[in-house]
Each structure stands twice: as structure tokens, then as C-alpha cells.
Symmetry: C2
Subunit: 328 residues, 2 copies
């Protein structure tokens, strides 16, 4: 732990009470000048710290930032987020940063988080609205020893992890939309962008990008965005602490990832199906090559959607955009 | 064309005759000092150029290097090798360099070639013996608009392109070994390492690495390597100009790639099957998860090997190491 971290722990233990520079100095065995320096650094991070020559210091506000130390403080995982958590005030895309790190050897469990993305990306080169400190924009590096054909499972379980995080912390009615969007009342609250670096038979790394609208207000966006997207703030009228959600997500995700490695995918897939509620629905799927209309027979363990068209032919669809079809 | 390139063309047109500095100076409209400078640069690349104050210059030997200008000189392609050809005297791995370039936007058709690799890689993290200027170590960047499940076709056609290049230029008995090795008399002469960067439903880029043993002598290698690997030199006792092979490879590969985009994969796959001669064979396949023994029923259009084991169960195998099984 750095002096800065130790100091922060020290302040937090005071729970809103003043603490003298002298007592901190004794406790941490550092000079009062060193403490003053670190107080400046904490202030630069956004912590509000009052100081008085008589009373010492008082931590009066923790910033609403997804700082590595803040996330780790109550994070109950063994690997996810236990490696580097790289917190950026602004970046182009957390997935792009994470891929860069992964290609230079960053280990499984490394997380890249940005307060703001200037080129936030969704599937198929779409953009992801990423305003400052409103959403969670986070990318996780995984290195599973799997063939690339199995990689879709990693995405499916990410969607379940996001859904379970929201369900555990809010009263919202959360749904998964195939392949990997999270909806509230039919509007998108979160999306997952999976990017894979692989040989033909062996994955090198997978980057799982999460965009989750927490305190996002869509006031100044187009009508199209407002009709399609939502956030916790938009649904409840209240701001929600992002830090709790990112912790819950990493914890649920690690739990499913371990489950997958040890005892298989079946329980995760059956939870996915409960949350997705797509089987038996009549849908339209727009894929990169073709458009399909028909009834969903199943979504298999690789996330492949089996669709029976009106001629009775079954199609195996890997990915695409789904809309519910009006019953004819 | 740079002055250096123009000068080289000029020398080559002389076909072993002397050419005066003055006549080159007039022809290219550059000073004699500029010519002298570029002669120095060509010499640094390995060209042997004699000079005489009376007779001028004589190109007496072109180096046996896979220089971009030399490859392009008679390269009959539209895209492959028509973008940058990056020629490196030494690098860690041409695939690693090509992935770096691709992730920063290098276009389809970009080629990275090294005279020597210090960390030449094969499938499954194996090394590839890459001694100085003996083999072809080349990586090609492709950006096909395909789903990653189709990517195996790109590898299959690379194997056919390598085999056809060897067949068209040598008398050797070339075979493809599933999934993507090239053999002569049961020994490996070439390998292909495909690395893919992809989203779930859309490939970003594919890097196809080729290691082809041309003038490689295995004298100082272990017995194990000598038993498994071969080269044109080892098979014929003669050195072969690498430049002809790299050109042929790029030409064949581009031809198949265009064929695949326009008229489909069937003719390429049927040629693959002719060259592989695996169907009906009894084999052992070692995959990352399991070992299979049985008879090959088919290799499908995605390169998936369909194996019937001794219990009569058919298995779909994506990739692995094949050895012929003794008939029991």
C-alpha cells in the first residue's frame, strides 16, 4: 500500500471526524510534510479534505469517481479487478486501451475504466454514448484456455452478470436481449462489446467491454436515442452510486467464470434463458449478411440462436439485431 | 517511384553492362552526386555495384533479400503486396509486427517480411526455426468482411496457395496436412499461423503468417527437427530463389481470395482435398482438450474435421495435431 492509500484508509476510519496531522504522522511513520503532499494528491483526485492548523484534517467527501482504490476497498473477488485497475479520466475507448494492454501481456483480471469515452464503441462499429462520470465504461481482460468457438459463452455470462448486478441492487425489471444487451422496459441500459484475439484453435485474450448507463440523463440527446436508451437515473429519478455496480458486476462475473471453468455452463445458460425470455418468440433478426423472420426454437450453449422461418427451415444465427415481429 | 528505385530500374535495364553517370543523370534528371548517394544506399541494401571513373556503374549482383522493390518488380497482384511491404532484417515475429500494424489501421494487403525471426512462432505457442535469409517469414494482413466462424476458410486457402506455389516452381511432391501444414515426403516444409482479431460476429483483421523453409539447412539442428522438417535445399540439394516463391504465394493467395469473395469456396476446398488426401484415413488427433482416434469421414467447408471413432460416434474437430494411426 502506498502512503496515499494508507492515508486514505486512515481518513476513512475517522468516519467524518477530524484527525490531527501528528497522530497520522505517528501512525504511518511518515513526516507531516509527506502527509501534506499526499493530501494534495488526494484533493487532485477529487477528495474534499478540510484542514485546520488546530484540528488537523477532515475527509468530508469522497469523489464519485471509479478510482481503483475505491473499487478495491470492498471488492470480494480473487482475480477480477485484483490485477491492475487502470482508471482514466478520459480515453478514446476502454476496449481499445484494454486490447493494447492485453497485446503487451496484461494478465487476466486487468480492468480499464474511464470516466468518459470520446470514441465509445458498441457492436458493429456503432458508437456508445459515454458522458463524463454518468455511466460505467469498463473493459476486462480475460485469458481463458478455450477454443474461439467457445468464446460466446464468455459474453453470455457477462450479460447474466450485468443483469444480476442490477437485480441485486435495484428494483428494476431487467431483461437480456439476445445476443448481449441489457434492457429495462424495452430500452437499452447496458451493452457488451466482446473483442477476441485468437489463433484458429486457441484464444489469446478476450476483452469484455461494458457500457452501463447509471446516472445518464438523455436530455440533450436525439429523440431516437431517448426512445431506445435508458439509465437507472432515467428509470428511478435518482442517482445511483456507480462504485457499487462495478463491484457487483466484477463479483458476479468472476463467480460465473469460475463456475464455467469448474462445473460447466449449464446453470449459467439456464439463468440466461430465464432472463432473456426469447424462446418461442416471433422475431426479426438482422445479421451482417441477411435478414431472418421466424420463431425462436432455442438459444444453444454457444449462444447460437436457432430460428425456424415461415417455410419451416431452421437457421443457426451467430449474431444480429433482434426486433420482435408483429404476429401476422 | 523514389530516385533509388528509378536508379535500380535503370541499372537492371543495362543487363550487366556498364552505364555512365552522365547518361543516368540525364535520364533521371538528378545530379551525379544524388546518383552517387543512392548507389551507396543500394550497396547498403546488399546490391553489388562496381564503379569506374571512366565507365560509370555496373550492377553485378542483386542481393538474395526479400526487398520490397524486388518483390514488387514482377508481382502480378492488385492488393496483396501492393500496399506496404515492410522488409525487416530481423524481428521477433512477423505476425507480432503485422498485428501491431493492423491494430493501428494498416490496410488489407500489407505484408511484413523478415530475413530472420528471433521469436518465430508456430501454432500453439511453438517456435519456428527462422535462420537468416534461408526461409520465407512473411505475414499478410487481411480484412475480410466475414464472421469469425468463416475465418478458417482463409487459412485453408493459404495452405492451397503455398502448395500451388511449390508445385508451380519445383518438382516436389507437395501435400497438405490438416489443418494447415505443408509437407514434402512426410516432412514439414511450411506452416501457417493464423491470428484473428474479431468481435463476436465480425472480423476486424486476420494476420496470416507463413514460415516456408527454402534454403534452410538443418545441419546444426537437433535430430528431432531434422526428422520432422525439410526445405527445398534439403530435398533437391540446390538453393532456390526465395523471391520467386513469395511472389507466387501472393499471386495464388490473392487469386483464391478473390475467388472466395466472388464465386464461393467450393473449388478451393476441392483442391484442398486433392492436396490433403486425408479422407478415409485412420488418424490420431491431439486437440487442446482431448485425443481422438478414428477414421476421417470428411473435412467440411469450414475446415472442420469429421472423425468417426471406434464406437461409431462422429466428432467435429476444429484444430489439432494429426498423426496417421497404424491400422489395427
Amino acid at each position: 500500500m502506498t502512503t496515499k492509500n494508507k492515508l486514505l484508509v486512515c481518513f476513512k476510519e475517522q468516519k467524518g471526524e477530524w484527525v490531527s496531522g501528528e497522530s497520522i504522522s505517528n501512525k504511518l511513520s511518515v513526516s507531516r510534510t509527506a502527509i501534506w503532499k499526499q493530501v494534495c494528491n488526494l484533493k487532485a483526485d477529487g477528495y474534499v479534505i478540510e484542514s485546520s492548523s488546530k484540528k488537523g484534517y477532515l475527509l468530508s467527501r469522497t469523489p464519485d469517481l471509479l478510482l481503483a482504490d475505491e473499487i478495491r476497498e470492498k471488492l470480494n473477488t480473487s482475480v477480477f479487478g485484483k490485477q491492475d485497475i487502470i482508471h482514466l479520466k478520459e480515453t478514446d475507448s476502454t476496449n481499445t486501451r484494454a486490447k493494447d494492454l492485453a497485446s503487451h501481456g496484461a494478465p487476466e483480471g486487468t480492468v480499464v475504466i474511464a470516466e468518459k469515452q470520446t470514441k465509445g464503441r458498441g457492436r458493429r462499429g456503432r458508437s456508445w454514448f459515454s458522458p463524463l462520470s454518468d455511466g460505467i465504461y469498463a473493459s476486462l481482460i480475460l485469458r481463458p484456455a478455450i477454443s474461439p468457438v467457445v468464446a460466446s459463452k464468455i459474453t453470455l455470462m457477462a450479460a447474466v452478470a450485468v443483469a444480476e448486478s442490477l437485480l441485486s441492487l435495484t428494483q428494476l425489471d431487467v431483461r437480456i436481449k439476445w445476443p448481449n444487451d441489457i434492457l429495462i422496459n424495452g430500452k437499452k441500459i447496458a451493452g457488451i462489446l466482446t473483442e477476441i484475439s485468437t489463433e484458429m484453435d486457441r484464444v489469446d485474450y478476450i476483452v469484455i467491454g461494458l457500457g452501463l448507463n447509471v446516472n445518464t440523463s438523455f436530455k440533450n440527446t436525439s429523440r431516437e436515442v431517448r426512445e431506445r436508451a435508458t439509465s437507472i437515473l432515467a428509470e428511478t429519478g435518482k442517482r445511483f452510486p456507480r462504485i457499487k455496480l462495478i463491484r457487483a458486476y466484477l463479483q458476479f462475473y468472476e463467480k460465473y467464470y469460475e463456475m464455467f471453468n469448474k462445473s460447466g455452463f449449464e446453470p449459467i445458460m439456464s439463468r440466461w434463458k430465464e432472463l432473456a425470455n426469447i424462446i418461442g418468440q416471433r422475431i426479426i433478426v438482422d445479421t451482417i449478411s441477411k435478414k431472418y423472420i421466424g420463431e425462436v426454437l432455442n438459444v444453444d450453449d454457444d449462444g447460437i440462436l436457432i430460428l425456424k422461418d415461415d417455410q419451416g427451415t431452421a437457421h443457426r444465427i451467430f449474431s444480429g439485431d433482434v426486433t420482435l415481429a408483429r404476429v401476422s
